[in-house]
């Protein structure tokens, strides 16, 4: 079933929309959730919540690309679940490791006058990823959007783990420099 047909079902408040979303993108959403949560039950719950949220958002929203629309919801929900869990039990989980890595990208406080809003930050990130080579961009997003482990990224792309680590390290450094140059204060 085409995305526009599934979206049309959401607009008609036809529950088959959820069934069709699950059939077409269930595996994809589960992958995103599981990459973040590393737990089958939590991931399934997260994916189910994704459909509920999509149901409540369409209409009025009319996503052009349903896969990324659902993927973004799943990622947000999974991060939220993980944050709540982490708050209860601080530990060496995916989120804390990723956040630690991202700390390297934060520009120094003197480089800008005001904190930017989320929208501006996203625009800056979009500009930054455009400057990356396709390979580095893929590795960067697989790590920080799909939250895959270094090992998984290496397996997925037939790279060595050290190549992935090196690419991520350089991209993080370049991101920090880019944000500083753009005057982006987080």
């Amino acid at each position: 079933m085409e995305d526009r047909e599934i979206v049309a079902l959401y607009f008609e408040r036809n529950e088959k929309a959820i069934e069709a979303s699950e059939k077409k993108y269930g595996k994809y959403c589960f992958f995103i959730a599981h990459s973040i949560l590393r737990n089958k039950e939590d991931s399934e719950e997260c994916v189910n919540d994704t459909y509920i949220k999509a149901w409540n958002s369409i209409p009025p929203k009319k996503p052009e690309k349903l896969s990324t629309f659902l993927g973004k919801i799943t990622r947000n929900l999974a991060l939220d679940i993980l944050e709540k869990k982490s708050a209860k039990k601080r530990g060496n989980n995916t989120l804390s490791v990723v956040l630690e890595e991202l700390h390297e990208c934060i520009p120094s406080p003197s480089s800008a006058e005001n904190e930017v809003d989320q929208k501006f930050l996203t625009e800056s990130l979009n500009c930054f990823v455009k400057t990356l080579s396709e390979e580095n961009r893929k590795i960067f997003l697989q790590r920080y959007w799909y939250m895959m482990s270094v090992k998984e990224i290496a397996q997925q792309n037939d790279f060595t783990e050290s190549k992935v680590k090196m690419s991520l390290m350089r991209t993080r450094e370049n991101l920090r420099i880019f944000l500083e140059k753009e005057g982006v204060q987080i």
Binding site: G26, K27, I52, K61, L77, H103, T122, K138, Q156
Partner: protein
């Protein structure tokens, strides 16, 4: 936390990049959605159990053809006014869901939980009812005995535990549901249980709009929950407390229209009503809608029934509805809010009251 802010901002990165980095599922191999696994397990069971059974059964079933035919005759004559007083006894086979999805077959039983069968409710264990020419689906809806009508048959239910691959049987009875046509829905009561579960035939044939009204007794059972008018892609108006006669009259006035089997275009609803048909379909998600290009769409239990009422009548109905009802306009904005489960949304709804509507 600054790092979290960066991670959140990444969420809204352009779709093109997200898509480009999309992992290939095949290479992962280990992470498989539960539904696919169940489907694959069903397929294995189908191959292992059903195929030998199909080869074996024809000769065994041949002598039973006569009672089945007489049962079908009973149903036909009932429609002509002769009420069947004797309970027809027929063997009905319930099957667990079978989907011929052949991917991800490896290791399915490793992932299914050992006690998954015990955790299912009885209607989920025996989720399909094959009766005569119809297959009724479990709806997870329970009704009280007072909503049931005549007993239709005694049955033997069968279901398969996909973990152990054991097949179980259970005695049950099926009843009609008051004021609902047996072709559309029945109530199933399992032995040693006092509960009645609604099973629906999702491909129930409705030749005309009138048949939908008749088979579901919509004149008595129809409830309209909400209405929605789509002005354009971002502007919607929501209507509450709509009298069910608005929808019922629309259906009855077009009762002779025949269902279109293959509509030529993707249809978009311009005015949509969310309906329920208690007690068989108590929840939301079923709709009646009208499109400005002349279509009447009726969605009942996942199935869409399409009729062409004509552009003129469709627009007349829409305009008359809008003139006589007060709604709440919903407008999409770009503000950010915290909504469901704490997640953030980039496009949100501002509620603007129009036409004197008070929530």
């Amino acid at each position: 936390m600054k790092e979290k802010k960066l991670l959140d901002a990444l969420n809204e990165i352009e779709d093109e990049f997200i898509n480009e980095a999309k992992p290939e599922m095949k290479k992962k191999g280990k992470i498989i959605s539960f539904r696919w696994i169940v489907a694959a397990a069903c397929f294995i069971v189908l191959v292992c159990v059903a195929v030998p059974l199909i080869q074996y059964l024809p000769s065994q079933l041949a002598p039973r053809e006569e009672p089945t035919s007489s049962k079908e005759e009973n149903i036909t004559t009932k429609g002509e006014g002769i009420e069947a007083t004797e309970e027809s006894v027929t063997e009905i086979i319930f099957e667990t869901e079978i989907q011929a999805e052949t991917t991800a077959i490896d290791g399915v039983c490793d992932i299914l939980e050992k006690d998954y069968w015990e955790k299912l409710d009885i209607n989920q264990q025996y989720c399909y009812a094959l009766f005569g020419k119809n297959t009724y689906d479990n709806t997870n809806t329970e009704i009280s005995a007072s909503h049931t009508g005549r007993k239709i048959a005694d049955i033997t239910a069968k279901g398969t535990d996909l973990y152990s691959k054991k097949t179980y049987t259970k005695d049950a009875e099926i009843f009609s549901v008051k004021s609902i046509d047996e072709d559309f829905a029945v109530a199933v009561k399992f032995k040693e249980s006092s509960r009645y579960f609604v099973y629906i035939n999702p491909v129930c044939n409705f030749e005309t709009v009138g048949e939908i009204v008749e088979k579901l007794s919509l004149d008595k059972n129809l409830k309209v929950l909400d209405g929605l008018y789509r002005e354009d892609d971002v502007s919607l108006t929501k209507y509450k407390s709509i009298d069910s006669s608005v929808v019922l009259d629309l259906l009855v006035n077009n009762k002779n229209l025949e269902e279109l089997k293959e509509p030529a275009e993707i249809l978009q609803s311009d005015v949509l009503f969310e309906i329920s048909v208690p007690p068989v379909i108590p929840s939301a998600g079923n709709t009646v809608s009208v499109s400005k290009n002349g279509y009447l769409l009726v969605n009942i239990f996942y199935m869409q029934h399409i009729f062409f009422i004509g552009k003129e009548e469709a627009n007349e109905f829409i305009n008359s509805f809008l003139e006589n009802h007060k709604g709440q306009k919903l407008v999409a904005t770009t503000e950010q809010h915290i909504v469901y489960n704490g997640a953030k949304e980039d496009v949100f709804i501002t509620e603007v009251y129009s036409n004197g509507y008070k929530p």
